[in-house]
């Protein structure tokens, strides 16, 4: 019985490893492309061999030309804007979700409907009138102008509300009896229980902002305010693309979330039941 379980675990580890590898393969190829000349990347494309995936003559030239082109600045802008969106967005979305899940007030359904409709509207399709408004308020070429559209995320509110609804009401009531106000209940009881959900909401906010392209293009055209996806798109011009630099840019943009995610892994292994509040 125990041996069988162990065998099953080894099988699952193999399967998991294989799947992870398959997902990672295209990125590995991009990594290889970042570490060699464009000519070599395309020459080794066909027929497929090990050299398709391994740089024969490794070089850091692509990274050098990327950095020379001011990519560091763009990465920094992306990081700042995304970090600010995470902090402000989590605050706004988690309080709103708490309000919708726990508080009782007239118009609650309407407010919930507003939050739902807000994530049904294609942002890229309404970005044009919005960017004109932002320009009137002198938010062009500012970090604030880049951050704002990302902070009130209906998906994040929706996710957190669902989680908060699952927190046993008795906890809040007990705290109330102990004299805790709503802010106290939110801060001391709901938030500490919600780390996995907060990580999930953080993912939503992160991906929205880290991937943002059209909005920064419209609202932050100044070279000093360029974000990483726009800087990478610029490497593909009218007369061809610098594939090596594009792949190097992809590697760098993937690196930040990779590190952040590996760090936050431990919050995923933490569970409600583990903290002894359920069951």
């Amino acid at each position: 019985m125990a041996a069988g379980a162990r065998g099953g675990r080894v099988g699952m580890a193999l399967l998991g490893g294989l799947i992870a590898l398959l997902f990672f393969l295209p990125l590995w190829w991009a990594l290889a492309g970042a570490l060699r000349s464009e000519q070599e990347t395309f020459r080794t494309l066909s027929p497929v061999s090990l050299w398709t995936l391994i740089p024969g003559q490794p070089t850091l030239g692509n990274f050098a030309s990327l950095v020379h082109g001011g990519f560091g600045r763009a990465m920094l802008n992306s990081a700042v804007v995304t970090a600010a969106t995470l902090v402000v967005g989590l605050a706004i979305c988690s309080t709103a979700a708490f309000g919708l899940a726990v508080l009782r007030f007239p118009g609650r359904t309407t407010v919930f409907a507003v939050m739902v409709v807000s994530f049904l509207i294609p942002f890229d399709a309404i970005a044009i009138p919005l960017s004109a408004l932002f320009r009137d308020f002198e938010l062009q070429n500012t970090h604030l102008g880049l951050v704002l559209p990302g902070v009130g995320n209906g998906f994040a509110v929706f996710l957190l509300r669902g989680f908060f609804l699952g927190v046993p009401k008795e906890l809040a009531e007990a705290a109330h009896v102990d004299g805790l106000g709503w802010w106290g209940i939110f801060w001391r009881i709901y938030l500490p229980l919600s780390k996995p959900a907060m990580v999930g909401a953080g993912l939503i906010l992160f991906v929205f902002q880290w991937q943002a392209y059209l909005w920064p293009l419209l609202i932050a055209p100044s070279p000093a305010m360029k974000v990483a996806p726009v800087a990478i798109a610029q490497l593909s011009g009218e007369r061809g693309a610098d594939f090596g630099a594009i792949f190097a840019g992809a590697v760098l943009t993937a690196l930040v979330p990779l590190l952040v995610l590996l760090f936050f892994q431990r919050y995923f292994t933490q569970s409600l039941s583990g903290s002894g509040t359920k069951g």
Partner: protein, 300 residues
Amino acid sequence: MTTATPRTAVGRRGRFGDWPIAVTFLGPAVLAAVLLRLWPAARAVWDSLRSTPFGLAPTTWVGLDQYRWLFTDPAFLNSLKVTALFGIVVNPLQIAVALALAVLFNERIRGVGLMRTLVFLPVAIPQSVSAVIWAVAFRPDGPLNGVLALFGLGGLRYLTSPGQALASIVVVVSWIGVGYWMMFLIAGLKEIDPNLYDAAALDGAGRWARFRYVTVPQLRRQLAFVLVADTVSNLLLFAPVQILTKGGPDGSTDVLMNDIFERAYTEADVGAAAAATVVLTAVALAIVVVQFRLLSSGKD
């Protein structure tokens, strides 16, 4: 509900319930939603009733003729059809795969954290780069066909064939999206009380029965989120299509949002783009309302 509320809370809740405190909790989010989403969307409704002959001001009132014109445009009708087909294929596929991967990567396996991260990573790189990578992979003389050739198989045509292009797009967006949705489901799995599994195992439930009768019901909330959010995201998706196929070949990948993007950004046909946006939002709303109905009726 009120019966369960302790006296202290009831005492504080007057006719307006928690209204004053609710304003402080919800104010910023509602403000953001109204100013940054609903207001420009209302603008789009207004714009959709006006015509801008190639972006020239002043505009003229055309009213519902804009919509009539749109619904007789074969390109727009085609994009509705493609969007429906795309949604029917991509949503169940992504959710099923994400759920399977979540269950697998929830096991206590050595290195599972790294595995999850690798599956998640595609969503973290700019979509333009994902598109470049797959544009090369899908080349008829590219690595995917190269691998098929190693096994003695003939090549596929991928993005160059009206019959295979949409399926290829499904592969790309699933490569990007599956790991992302998986993360939410893993978070949900972590919340399930392990005692439930032990109890089920004592009752002699097998692996499948435990999945069916413990995991799925316990995961209901996260699954509901993923269902709604994934459906909406796929409805609004266009970057990979725009970069890889521009809606071709023969319009076979021209999803609605790509059609809107082209009208708005390439042609600067503000009125028609706004009308198409209104249609898309209405479609999304209808789908989500149906989903909410199904989810709440399933609860009882």
